[in-house]
Subunit: 433 residues, 2 copies
């Protein structure tokens, strides 16, 4: 099948991520897209700068030359800003080339004109990466919930703000100090106004509300309060009252219209949004049929954003060939062939509950068996509580081991004279994010 | 644009949900699908039974008659079971009609042959509703994460098991008692084996793993432990050690293959999956680019499942016309026109932090102002801590009121002689699920 050829406007963080993912996962992407996908040209500020990974990509300092390049089927606008980006997107759409963008400000401020232009030119403008980075949220809202009437959207869609409020809440530090630390760690820009002032979240909310409620893009109608006024004192009082303060963007249907607001918000501590910390994004959608549904994940980052950009590209590729995704279980290419594993080879930690005779040396013999199988102990609890017959309960948490090792050790322990009853085993998972 | 006409096999819970949603949200669905969608025929067990909402639908007790009905463009298999359902789906696919199904057992056990048949016949078999009900999880995994190499999937994909373990954990009750209660409430079937034995979750995991790893549908390779062996004692010990026990389905890539397992699992209490309670489903996907991403929502229910079925139908409608979704902000039909609201009209609760003179009667004058504006108080905290000048801090949580009411009350309070400093106000949201 004919290659789909991409022209990149900008080869910074996200553009680099697109090259990385195509290099690493190109075969799987081609299988899902129904055709190979390749970057053929990229517009950059300085062609003389060495760019590892961009070998074979035609580099140019002329944006128009990339857009007009006869080989370029799809234009990826990854330059940011709204002026030059708008000109470039308009030029590409007029040429009938589909555009994929990660630029939330461009869509929030100029989307209406650009979508009209795309429609006139018989092409499309895609923007999955513009909101919530690597979370396929736009797709969920546009397509997954297509049969629903949405009541509200509430989410944490600015990672910088969530990081700052999380740190302030957990350490008691002041806003200015945490902001400085976030800048040092690269979680906040040198000029943080867009993030901490709520403008970035307002751009994203503008886009989400337009999809969910069919209203025009209304950035200037969003009430936008930054997080700078939240004090360590407020975070402590909120906690005392059973709340957390989270940076929320909210769009809610009322009878007469839609509330649009971005502001720090007290949320009950049991609420899932109250438990989304650090730079993670999360959005909860309430609707009339499937409700609530929630989506969380990384809101930024080179590969997370490139993942969303390439999801749009794969959709375009399939739409252009009219093909469906590969069917379930369709064989992967040989280099990536995987088989279901027997449970013996599964690796996880284990919780063991044993009933043991309450005699000296019993713990020693149990730990001896575990040591013999090279199983490390994460925690061990012996309950005082005596059960009939002079037995007591011992709980052991192990480090991760292959299932067959855990099974063999349990069998050996069960044969110890001090162990009455069978050993009760439950698997333990630590997901390392 | 030409109507897309649906033939339903089965008009029970999910079929009824499809009729309800099309009746309620038909205009929005047509806008998103690019053409009107209508149920024209349905196969039922007893045509004489009264079926409100099915007026105008051709009812028949003959499944084949519905499949072969010349008006039926798309067949929705909503009968359940695997024998008759398989025959029906095969017949529809052979006739070249696209099929949408909510039947996880059918896909997990016979999917391979059915997808091959669909492919030969040049048509498609869609199954968004087969896993995690109303959560658009299949779409996220197939399309949203198309550029990713998936490392693992871990999720709560059986609401009955999650309800039972949540209740056991929170009340200390025994498995049998909570199961009986779940049966009484309709959260568990009369014969609960499929759910509590992990078979239902194994069907779903089979489907998810095939999409994520490109492996064949391998239901017989899934290690499946039910939740019946978990005791109240285990739940208490787990909690003591900082864990919760959740009913997880896990598929994880290793170098040699894929682990496939369904079992009760200890999860650290801070983990998001540990905090998904009751009948909610939730799935976390770890991958190389966008990671982790998580998805939660209702795993069952008439309208939630119908929402997923109709999302597949909307995708089919758009694929058949080759059209994109409506652009952002595209005007809704007049009956549903919404405008962005001014913040004055937004309704929420408020957190107020006031610095007040530590004199008798000050709380009375504050509550007097709130009463005057008909603002109810949810909580009030006066801190002992004295600040310079004999002032003290008062925190008030209000009940929800329109923003303009809160603003007016704050202005009036700020003018009280006892109030030094401005009033600090943060909005509070209680999401009522």
């Amino acid at each position: 099948m004919k290659e789909l050829k991409l022209g990149l406007l900008g080869l910074g963080t996200v553009g680099g991520g697109v090259l990385t993912l195509l290099a690493r996962n190109g075969e799987a992407i081609a299988r899902r897209a129904g055709r190979p996908v390749r970057v053929v040209a990229a517009a950059v500020r300085d062609v003389s700068k060495p760019r590892p990974g961009a070998e074979g990509v035609h580099l140019s300092e002329d944006i128009d030359a990339v857009i007009d390049h006869p080989d370029v089927d799809v234009v990826l606008e990854l330059m940011g800003g709204t002026d030059a980006a708008r000109d470039a997107v308009e030029r590409a759409l007029r040429a009938g080339k589909p555009v994929v963008t990660a630029n939330k400000a461009l869509i929030a401020l100029h989307g209406q004109a650009l979508f009209d232009l795309a429609s006139e030119a018989g092409t499309t403008l895609s923007y999955e990466a513009a909101v919530a980075g690597g979370i396929p949220l736009i797709k969920a809202l546009r397509e997954g919930l297509a049969a629903n009437r949405v009541h509200s959207i509430a989410g944490i869609i600015n990672g910088t703000c969530n990081y700052i409020l999380t740190e302030m809440s957990q350490t008691g530090a002041a806003f200015e100090d945490v902001l400085a630390e976030a800048q040092r760690l690269g979680y906040a820009e040198a000029d943080p106004t867009f993030d901490v002032g709520g403008i970035d979240a307002a751009h994203k909310l503008t886009i989400l509300a337009s999809i969910a409620f069919g209203i025009p893009l209304s950035f200037d109608k969003v009430t936008t309060d930054g997080i700078g006024s939240v004090t360590a004192e407020d975070l402590a009082y909120a906690r005392e009252l059973g709340y957390r303060i989270k940076p929320l963007a909210i769009a809610r249907r009322q009878e007469q219209g839609v509330e649009l607001r971005v502001h720090p918000t007290l949320v009950p501590e049991k609420d899932l949004l109250a438990n989304v910390n650090g730079v993670l994004n999360a959005v909860v959608v309430r609707a009339d049929a499937a409700s609530p549904t929630g989506y969380f994940g990384p809101g930024a980052g080179a590969e997370a954003t490139a993942s969303a950009v390439l999801a749009d590209v794969v959709d375009l590729a399939r739409r252009s060939t009219g093909t469906d995704m590969p069917a379930l279980g369709q064989a992967t290419d040989a280099s990536d062939a995987l088989a279901p594993l027997a449970i013996d080879e599964a690796v996880c930690a284990h919780y063991l509950r044993l009933r043991v005779a309450d005699t000296p040396g019993v713990l020693k013999s149990i730990s001896g068996v575990l040591a013999e199988h090279a199983i490390s102990i994460e925690a061990i609890v012996q309950k005082e509580l005596q059960t009939p017959g002079g037995t007591t309960t011992v709980i052991i948490l192990t480090q991760p081991v292959p299932e067959r090792v855990a099974v063999a050790a349990c069998e050996q322990m069960a044969a110890l004279p001090a162990i009455s009853d069978s050993i009760h085993r439950i698997r333990v998972e630590h997901f390392d994010d």
